[in-house]
Symmetry: C2
Subunit: 154 residues, 2 copies
Amino acid sequence: MERPRWLDEREQSAWRGYRRMRRLLDLELARELMRDAGLSEPDYDVLSDLSETPDQRLRLSELADRMLWSRSRLSHHLTRMQQRGLVTREECATDGRGAVVALTAEGRRAVEAAAPGHVAAVRRHLIDLLTPDEVAALDALTHRVVDHLARPGE
Amino acid sequence: MERPRWLDEREQSAWRGYRRMRRLLDLELARELMRDAGLSEPDYDVLSDLSETPDQRLRLSELADRMLWSRSRLSHHLTRMQQRGLVTREECATDGRGAVVALTAEGRRAVEAAAPGHVAAVRRHLIDLLTPDEVAALDALTHRVVDHLARPGE
DNA sequence: GAGGGATAGATGACATGTCAATCAGATGGC
DNA sequence: GCCATCTGATTGACATGTCATCTATCCCTC
């Protein structure tokens, strides 16, 4: 930090590219998802995580951890989704403080309707634009960074 | 979309990795930037774009386009940054409707103080974790996706 | 089995982002 | 030159996310 090692041209370009892609991809996927399925990305993520779970239900904290969301954010978001009938809250049998989110039939219908189009969009705007080697590189590199960031001591 | 082509294992893993990295990297960079320089990432981006510009000033719409922000978002954000003394608004000489944002001395000081640490964080949490080949792949792939998404007809 | 922390979740105040409406000034056709 | 339209920017209402705080319950130790 004393003598900053600036990014060289290639690194700079990769970093800018990453941030631009991040933004554009996000906008486009969110736009299509909302247009075609009436869901925001956070909505979709919640529903999709729930639907992949054996019993279609999860403890709030478990879901929050999986999604890397704060409890507070999840709680607020679920209240909104609950009002729209996509999920319900249930008491937790094993922990008096706890709560469980469950997918409603309507929620299930919503993800199932949304999923094919969303996956297609992910393909169209990202995956299918990459060579197999690039997919492999992206896979390797992102997981390395995730592991690094998830390390306790930063 | 009729017969959805789901993602294969590797693609799925890359996609999840990307989204997880996106989230964790963002959180960490934002956290450090706020802690060390008292700036949010949007703040930093605005200041950094302005500081790289010849005259330290830009038309609002020009800046909004570069950052891929809506005019409205930029306008709101600049009001806040202006209140903190980081930028000022000026009238535009050539277009009576237009406005120009300019970096203040304090704004300049803020980016210059923030930049080395921020770049170091980008290195530490991303760039330096990648092999040269991976940096090259990331560069190539992100720009391809960006070009694709920037294409007028979607 | 009674405290004293820790943890799960909810909540309210606030910061930030979005969307639609508005206003002033530019621009083009006639 | 004048009107219709477009564009740059601002604004206000609202949606979303964050942070600090609160309550209830759990869990550990004594």
